[in-house]
């Protein structure tokens, strides 16, 4: 059975997009069929994976998440989610084969569509909870169908709280909360969890993933310990991944869509992520371990990890 994973945090700039792309590509190197759904109007995931030419084409032909939400919620038209999936989109190779990665793209128009949804449905007397419930109902039905075709469905959620983000989190088998272990980034963790779940059930507790970790920072060590302690306390509302994602200078470069005919330096997964591939593979293993039984894809165990 496939696994649905939401990558979310109210705070911006903590590594949600990087986690979504890097984890998606890592799972794909292990043979899994991966779908990434971009729910962020900034469209950074879409731009990074699809590149400007494909993204423009998808936008012009209405194959975006906002076009789908607009059709389903505002125009009340039937629109299949499978029609907006862009397949074979990855520009990354592993063992000389293209990664099995598909995407549902978002563009900045998503912001206008979300605003329109809220304005129109609120005018019609529908509450925020009902709007979120409506989106969740629609997505749930369509995601159920997609579960048969993909091993992993990853939602890259927008910072802050939107109805689509909330629906994705509630649908997910696992919520990953990328967090920089510092004062500013950790302040919003309890508030975000409370706003989504109140007190989450054990199997719904989000998992905090420390990102941009600097091994020598005492400040970060303090906040990592604090969050791990709080997670382990009775009544703790979240859990913390064992693996930590280090800060590496080449990760922002890896996120840029820079593979062209004459610059093929980052064509392969290992060349793209380099030393970051090791923690990524460790993260993918931990994700598989903590997913509910039977969820996700089990690789054959012959993983090729760069570096060492």
């Amino acid at each position: 059975m496939s696994a649905v994973i939401a990558i979310a945090n109210m705070t911006g700039g903590v590594g949600k997009t990087t986690t979504a792309i890097a984890l998606g590509e890592t799972l794909a190197t292990q043979g899994a069929e991966v779908l990434i759904i971009d729910l962020d109007a900034q469209g950074n995931t879409s731009f990074s994976i699809a590149g400007p030419r494909i993204l423009q084409n998808l936008s012009e032909t209405g194959r975006t998440i906002e076009s789908y939400l607009n059709a389903r919620l505002l125009e009340r038209k039937s629109r299949r989610i499978s029609d907006i999936i862009r397949r074979s989109v990855s520009s990354v190779l592993h063992d000389d084969e293209q990664l099995s990665l598909s995407i549902i793209c978002a563009t900045p128009n998503l912001r206008h569509v979300e605003q329109k949804i809220i304005v129109q449905l609120t005018k019609a007397g529908i509450s925020w909870e009902e709007i979120e419930g409506e989106i969740r109902k629609i997505l749930a039905r369509d995601i159920t169908n997609l579960r048969k075709r993909f091993d992993y469905i990853l939602f890259d959620c927008a910072p802050g709280i939107s109805a689509a983000t909330e629906a994705a989190i509630k649908l997910a088998d696992l919520m990953i909360m990328p967090t920089i272990p510092d004062f500013v980034s950790t302040q919003g963790v309890p508030a975000f969890i409370d706003s989504i779940f109140g007190e989450p059930d054990d199997n719904k507790k989000p998992w905090v993933l420390f990102t941009r970790v600097k091994a020598r920072s005492r400040h970060q060590r303090t906040y990592k310990s604090l969050l791990r302690e709080n997670a382990n306390k009775p009544g703790g509302t979240y859990r913390v991944f064992q693996v930590e994602m280090p800060e590496m200078v080449h990760v922002p470069e890896a996120m840029s869509q820079s593979v062209t005919f004459t610059n093929t330096g980052r064509m392969s997964y290992n060349a793209k992520w380099r030393d970051f591939a090791q923690p990524l593979h460790a993260l993918s293993e931990e994700v598989r371990r903590i997913l509910p039984n039977g969820c996700g894809f089990q690789p054959d165990g012959n993983l090729q990890v760069h570096g060492g």
Binding site: S88, S100, T262, T264, M267
Partner: protein
């Protein structure tokens, strides 16, 4: 070569493939073309499919095959047109060809970039043919000695740089280690790589650059050998604390008698 006729879907793929190749006839790696084809048609194009179409297009005279790791293809336009400069038809440029250009660069743009205080001195020596035959990675192509004079320091500071020159297709991670090994005897190690703009060997640049950063080896890209202004210092070399006795012995073995006397005179010994 698979000679079975192309199916209609293959016909569509071959048109797509032709539309993907650069109009100017620049060669593209086979795996890059196959990846782009998969992205364009929204499904995985297998190696078998790709090579069947590619071979048919070569047989039809629509595309050509170029050398290179992994193989490359390019669009054929007018057969009378000269080949694209990225398609190597001429003999490769050797290190010996590049040596005079590097010497000129070190004496001009590089020296200016060092921003030596006034009263400092600069000695450059071609050491590519000097030094022990059996010593591994102990013969830099050039060494450069700078003598720095500071305003409030009684003594002069001697810095010794080593330069390892590599051709366009002769540079790899091992070359970084070669430049690093030379810092056993010097304070700074630099790798100089002839890498023209748009060179297909740019694929190795990121790895080589990362290794240089990691080991403190300088990386200089020689874009247009004859134009010192086109050289790029991509990574600055870090100074090593090589023992004085080793630096001394190395200078004695590598500098010509004339330069040894000059250095001794400048040092006042």
């Amino acid at each position: 070569m698979d000679q079975s006729p192309l199916r209609s879907e293959d016909m569509m793929l071959d048109e797509q493939m032709l539309s993907l190749l650069p109009d100017d006839g620049a060669p593209v790696l086979n795996r890059m073309v196959r990846l782009s084809l998969s992205r364009t048609v929204e499904r995985r194009v297998t190696q078998q499919e790709y090579f069947k179409i590619r071979d048919q297009l070569i047989a039809d005279g629509k595309i050509g095959r170029a050398r290179g790791p992994g193989g490359q293809v390019y669009l054929i336009q007018d057969p009378d047109d000269p080949p694209h400069p990225l398609i190597s038809q001429t003999l490769p440029i050797t290190e010996a060809d590049l040596m005079p250009f590097l010497e000129n660069y070190l004496e001009t743009a590089f020296q200016t970039g060092l921003d030596l205080p006034s009263g400092s001195h600069f000695i450059l020596e071609d050491t590519s043919q000097r030094g022990p035959r059996r010593g591994q990675w102990a013969r830099p192509d050039f060494i450069l000695v700078t003598l720095l004079r500071y305003r409030f320091q009684p003594q002069k500071q001697l810095d010794l740089h080593a330069f390892e020159l590599k051709t366009e297709n002769g540079c790899n991670v091992q070359a970084v280690h070669e430049a690093l090994a030379q810092t056993r005897f010097t304070h700074y190690g630099h790798l100089v790589w002839h890498l023209p703009e748009n060179s297909p060997h740019t694929v190795r640049l990121e790895d080589i650059r990362a290794q240089c950063i990691s080991h403190g080896v300088g990386l200089i890209l020689m874009r247009e050998p004859g134009d010192p202004e086109s050289y790029e210092i991509l990574v600055d070399a870090r100074r090593k604390n090589t023992p004085l006795a080793i630096v001394d012995g190395f200078l004695e073995a590598r500098l010509t008698d004339e330069n040894q006397k000059r250095l001794a005179r400048l040092l006042g010994v």
